[in-house]
Symmetry: C2
Subunit: 477 residues, 2 copies
């Protein structure tokens, strides 16, 4: 049997490794094609590389093609799959010097996601970067080394946006963070987002919320002056690879023009499913591939025979809202890939969905969420109460005790915990895991007040912030 894997990052290579582990070499051949240069890397680590905290890119690579080869998995980097023929059971592959066709018995589609590029960023412009692959990170590194930029504009204040803002600040750039919503981190509630906004402003990052970007302006390399330069060619190339094109000079917004010699697009990503679509593989409502619990691709008329999918190109079930959502996150990609691989290898495993846990750090500020935000709870149709408490990470009398704010959302009638959000400093955000396990198990906030969590003065007040929040939500019911 031959398995072809499209995409050599977390999801694809986890699937490959798990399948390989379970079947003998003479029984199974595993070949992966990766259009980029790297395999199995931590894209989430890119901001720490750019920020100078990590020596990249090597440290971010969990396993390279040579290591895969040793365990009997063939990976071709610089090889892009350009076509899938489901009837013939072949893929068409293009590399720098040739195009060829390869047959498969089972196909693992793990092509990841691609950065959203609005119309105003569609054209090639040097110094403008999406943040999705290790290649993007390398391009930013090269740009900084070559051009010594002074003014960075990060567009979008979600996870990648805030992390890149910190990274560029660490590199000594003047950083402006632009966000269309009235708050940064729009995945948390406005009141919690306001706490984040306040903190970001104290960090030396210029935060501009409620601001819409209208265009990118180039400057001519010779004169250094700006000129309108965005086109709509539809290219998705990263800044530095478009070496013949114009160079970024400014970001034009509805609230003025921001000088910029480096722009990061942190506007989210969409599932990279063009190839699947072209092959007639049905897509889910989110644009991602829909799978069953074992990561087999499904469509309106049932399973797509012998086609599996995992990672950022798929949609997943949010267990709290009951909705299919697109949540591109390495931790889900790894789990889904593992599940696909176990099943491909003859075992049994399922991926039961996600609950929307997210966590990030901006300088010394920690932010986390799980379950549904108030807005998401509204959309899902829940009637709910919220409770917000201020507490500390350690017993208040301990050195290093820092304030933290915890917000809890619970269904009004049942008391069911729907979601939680945390904004604090050290030792604050990872407390989201206690909430995450509680959400996963459909606990009520009333039951949560009795939870036996770790207590000692260096770790928590005698009432852990998690419990205080549950108590307040219980009282609000």
């Amino acid at each position: 049997m031959r398995i072809i894997v499209i995409g050599g990052d977390a999801a694809g290579m986890s699937a490959a490794a798990q399948a390989r582990k379970r079947r003998k070499a003479d029984d199974l051949e595993v070949i992966a094609f990766e259009r980029g240069e790297f395999t199995s890397y931590s894209a989430c680590g890119i901001p720490y590389w750019i920020g100078g905290l990590v020596d990249g890119p090597d440290a971010l690579i969990a396993r390279n093609p040579a290591a895969f080869a040793e365990s009997g998995i063939t990976v071709h980097t610089g090889h892009e799959v350009t076509g899938i023929d489901l009837s013939a059971r072949t893929v068409t592959v293009r590399s720098a010097d040739r195009e060829f066709s390869e047959g498969f018995d089972e196909l693992v589609y793990a092509a990841g996601a691609v950065p959203v590029r609005p119309k105003w960023a569609a054209g090639p412009m040097r110094g403008v970067f999406g943040m999705q692959t290790l290649g993007d990170g390398a391009a930013v590194e090269a740009w900084i080394a070559e051009t010594s930029p002074k003014n960075a504009v990060v567009i979008g204040a979600g996870y990648i946006g805030v992390e890149m803002a910190e990274a560029l600040l660490r590199r000594g750039l003047s950083v402006t963070l632009v966000e269309q919503s009235p708050q940064p981190m729009s995945t948390i509630d406005p009141d919690m987002g306001a706490l984040v906004a306040k903190s970001i402003e104290g960090m030396g990052i210029t935060l501009r919320t409620g601001v819409t970007v209208q265009s990118l302006e180039s400057r001519s390399p010779a004169s250094g002056s700006s000129a309108s330069g965005s086109s709509a060619s539809g290219s998705l190339a990263s800044g530095s690879s478009a070496s013949g094109s114009d160079r970024i000079g400014a970001v034009v917004t509805d609230a003025g023009t921001l000088p910029a010699d480096l722009v990061i697009l942190g506007l989210g990503v969409r599932p990279n499913t063009e190839l699947a679509k072209a092959a007639g593989i049905p897509l889910g409502a989110t644009g991602g591939l829909a799978t069953d619990l074992r990561q087999r691709v499904t469509g309106p008329s049932g399973l797509v025979e012998g086609v599996w999918a995992a990672g950022d190109c798929t949609q997943v079930l949010n267990r709290v809202s009951g909705r299919q959502v697109h949540v591109p996150l390495g931790t889900h990609a790894n789990k889904q890939g593992r599940v696909a691989g176990i099943n491909l290898g003859g075992g049994y495993a399922t991926f039961p969905g996600i609950i929307g846990t997210g966590i990030t750090k901006i300088c010394d500020l920690e932010v986390a969420r799980t379950g549904l935000s108030s807005k998401e709870a509204d959309t899902a149709g829940y009637r709910y109460v919220t409770a917000t408490v201020s507490s500390t990470n350690r017993a208040g009398y301990m050195p290093g005790a820092d304030p933290m704010t915890v917000k809890v959302i619970a269904e009004k009638e049942s008391g069911l915990l729907l979601g939680a959000q945390i904004v604090g400093k050290a030792e604050a955000a990872k407390r989201i895991d206690a909430f995450a396990v509680a959400v996963w198990n459909r606990m009520t906030v009333t039951e949560m007040t009795a939870l036996d969590l770790g207590y000692a003065p260096p770790f928590a007040p005698v009432w852990d912030p998690v419990l205080i929040a549950a108590r307040k939500a219980d009282e609000a019911l």
Copy 2:
């Protein structure tokens, strides 16, 4: 209605506060008697006070009698309840200058626990201290100030023992930690305890395991020489209060004599239930008071009318083993007191038991456990598998990534998570909460592999140590 509360610490005063909150002043009178000097304090904070990290004792007091008075609760410190008459519904109270009787409608028994003092420590000996009350902390502080001790021996390497060993090390003493078991922290498995032992030895604390203390030797104040001096008078007085007695000179063990001018007894505590017993209130099998879910005292023949109990004087249900156990811990005391108080105030709340979560820090080492240890699982009758993994607190490539070891215990047939243990450095131990919520909800390790925990490089590897441990246990099934 009048409520009398025996014991002015966490459990008693939580009960008082909650009852008060729910009923009007003309409807309810709340009077608490505390034999010590302080109310509502953090006994768990004493090691940090002694260690010089916290300004004690004031910082450790959450609420003093004046504050309680303001909210309509009368607290008499320095007042010991010496008798309970259930038929007459009165308590006898003794203070420095008088003895009197006070009637009650409802009685809250929250007399806490008293340190275990083996026969060899039963006699008065200056410089020997149990660690249970703020008064004990003050006595140690005074002893250090008065006598400038050089050699401390801490007997018992459980939570209090290791925390006090660190505290005295911080104060510049030479510290020997003596433990009868073959390992420190005997509440965790031997292999995990061995990791703790190794770390403690690197901290400058002399750890002596498998060593049994035989007697305490005094030295005559004038000559400074040692003389056998332990008697068996049965006194429970702390060292410095026995001012006329001998002064500690050495600890005699089956493996030699250890010079000591300060000794801490960290041998655990037992429920302080003599008074209840004398009044004919039935005790549970552990020696603690048995209660129903609402914290009403129960006996073989049913409820003891109008008597409530909470905190270290009670026994509690371990939800995993199904056994009644004595787990003296501030966090349980607070919860039980709150539950008693809500019910006393006319509300409804239950305390559904504990799962054995514990956490501590020794210098930069963090240790935590939840659920059952292997030994406890054996005792409970479980057949189980264990899995131990090494991982890191952050993504391995991040600065500050430290190793941590996680052990998971799961029922062999069902995969039910029975317990977990963690030994690591910063950001390690509080991960026990994710396990604790999983144990609470009777998750299987198989289901745990899919948990949606917070992932970002500053907080976890892409597979959180919790998930890696669950995976390995799943594979071991």
